[in-house]
C-alpha cells in the first residue's frame, strides 16, 4: 500500500509543482514506483515541468468521469521508468473534480504505487481541499516571505481539520519545505531566517531549497531539477528531503552556511 503525500502551500508561485516533480523523481530514482498527480484543473503545469506536455492523451477528469481508464491516463516518464504523471485537465472546469472520483483514483493509485504525490493548486478551494483530503503526509511549501508564511499557517489549519485523517481524529504528519531561500539575504537581515519560519509555523523541517538558477533552467528544459542537474544545490536539497521522507534521520543544513565540525555534529534536527 503506497503512501499519499500532498504538496501544498496556499500561496501560488512558491514552488509546489517544482517540488512535486523534483521529489517524485528523487524518490523514483531508488526504484520505488512514484506517481505525481496534478490537481490544478484548468491550469495544469506539472506536465510542462516534467517535460510531458506533448504526450498528454487523457487526464484526471477523464478518469473520474469514466472516459478513460487510469492506466491510459498515466504517462510514464521518458527518463525514469518508475516515475509516472497523472495530468490535470486543461480545458475542463474544477467542478468536474468530485470527492468520490478523487477517492476512487487515489485508492487505485495506492494499490500500484509506493508513493502518490498530489500536487495541490494554490488557494483553499475545491482543488486544494481535494488534493489534501486523502493524504497520509503533507509537505507545506513555504517561501521565507510574510504572505507565504501566513498562507502556510492557514493551510496547516485546514490539514488539521478538513482532511480524512483529521476527521477520523488522527493527526496528519506535516513537514515544512522552505524554498527559494537566499542565505545571503537572510544573513543581511533582509529575509526571514529558517528559525523564524520554524518558530512561527512549528512543524518539522523537511528541507531547505536554495533560490537557484538551476530550478529555472530545469523548468526551461522540462525536467525535474533532480534529473536535469543532480549535483546542483537545489537537487541535493531535494534528494535529502526525499531521504527524510523515507524516514532517514538526516540533519538539515542551511544552504551556503559554513558549519564547523561541532556544528555538523550537533546539526539541526531533521523532520
Amino acid at each position: 500500500m503506497g503512501k499519499v503525500i500532498v504538496v501544498t502551500s496556499g500561496k501560488g508561485g512558491v514552488g509546489k509543482t517544482t517540488s512535486s516533480a523534483a521529489l517524485g523523481a528523487a524518490l523514483a530514482r531508488n526504484g520505488e514506483k512514484v506517481v505525481v498527480v496534478d490537481f490544478d484543473v484548468g491550469l495544469r503545469n506539472l506536465d510542462l515541468i516534467m517535460g510531458a506536455e506533448r504526450r498528454v492523451v487523457y487526464d484526471l477528469i477523464n478518469v473520474i468521469q469514466g472516459e478513460a481508464k487510469l492506466a491510459q491516463a498515466l504517462i510514464r516518464d521518458k527518463r525514469l521508468e518508475t516515475l509516472y504523471l497523472l495530468p490535470a485537465s486543461q480545458t475542463r472546469d474544477k467542478d468536474n473534480l468530485t470527492a468520490e472520483g478523487v477517492e476512487t483514483v487515489i485508492a487505485a493509485l495506492k494499490q500500484s504505487f509506493d508513493w502518490v504525490i498530489c500536487d495541490s493548486p494554490a488557494g483553499i478551494e475545491r482543488g486544494a481541499t481535494l488534493a489534501m483530503r486523502h493524504a497520509d503526509v503533507a509537505i507545506v511549501v513555504t517561501n521565507p516571505e510574510v504572505s507565504s508564511v501566513r498562507d502556510s499557517d492557514r493551510i496547516i489549519g485546514l490539514l488539521d481539520s478538513k482532511t480524512l485523517m483529521a476527521e477520523q481524529g488522527e493527526r496528519m504528519e506535516k513537514h515544512l519545505l522552505l524554498t527559494r531561500y537566499d542565505p545571503a539575504r537572510a544573513e543581511r537581515g533582509d529575509m526571514l531566517k529558517v528559525d523564524d519560519v520554524l518558530e512561527i509555523l512549528s512543524i518539522p523541517l523537511l528541507g531547505i531549497v536554495p533560490e537557484s538558477m538551476d530550478v529555472l533552467r530545469a523548468s526551461n528544459v522540462g525536467s525535474p531539477v533532480t534529473l536535469s542537474d543532480e549535483r546542483s544545490a537545489p537537487a541535493i536539497a531535494y534528494f535529502d528531503a526525499a531521504r527524510r521522507l523515507r524516514g532517514e534521520l538526516l540533519p538539515v543544513t542551511i544552504p551556503g552556511e559554513k558549519r564547523g565540525f561541532f556544528g555538523k555534529l550537533f546539526g539541526r534536527k531533521a523532520a
Binding site: 506533448r54 504526450r55 492523451v57 491510459q72 480545458t91 528544459v221 522540462g222
Partner: protein, 87 residues
C-alpha cells in the same frame, strides 16, 4: 569545477521558448474542450467500436505533439475468436 560547469552548459531559454511555442500553438486552436488530436482520438475509437466490441483495457493511445508534425498512435488489441468459423 563549478565555474567550469557554469560556462560549459548550453542556454536553456531557447528550449523553453520552443517548448512553449509548440504547446501554445496546440492549445490555442483547441475549440470547445478538444483539440484536433483529441477529436481524432475520440472519433477513431467511436468508429471502431461500431464494428466490434473493444475492451477499454486493451487500447493504448499515444500522442506526440510536435511543431510541424504530430503523431497519434492507437493500438487496439482485436480479440480473435477461434471457435468462430469463417462464413
Amino acid at each position: 569545477m563549478k565555474l567550469l560547469r557554469f560556462f560549459s552548459r548550453p542556454q536553456s531559454a531557447p528550449a523553453a521558448r520552443e517548448r512553449l511555442q509548440v504547446l501554445l500553438a496546440h492549445e490555442r486552436v483547441a475549440v470547445g474542450d478538444s483539440d484536433l488530436l483529441t477529436k481524432l482520438r475520440d472519433e477513431i475509437l467511436r468508429a471502431i467500436s461500431k464494428h466490434m466490441q473493444i475492451d477499454d483495457e486493451r487500447v493504448t493511445i499515444r500522442m506526440e505533439r510536435g511543431a510541424q508534425v504530430s503523431t497519434l498512435a492507437v493500438d487496439i488489441e482485436i480479440p480473435f475468436d477461434k471457435d468462430k468459423k469463417a462464413a
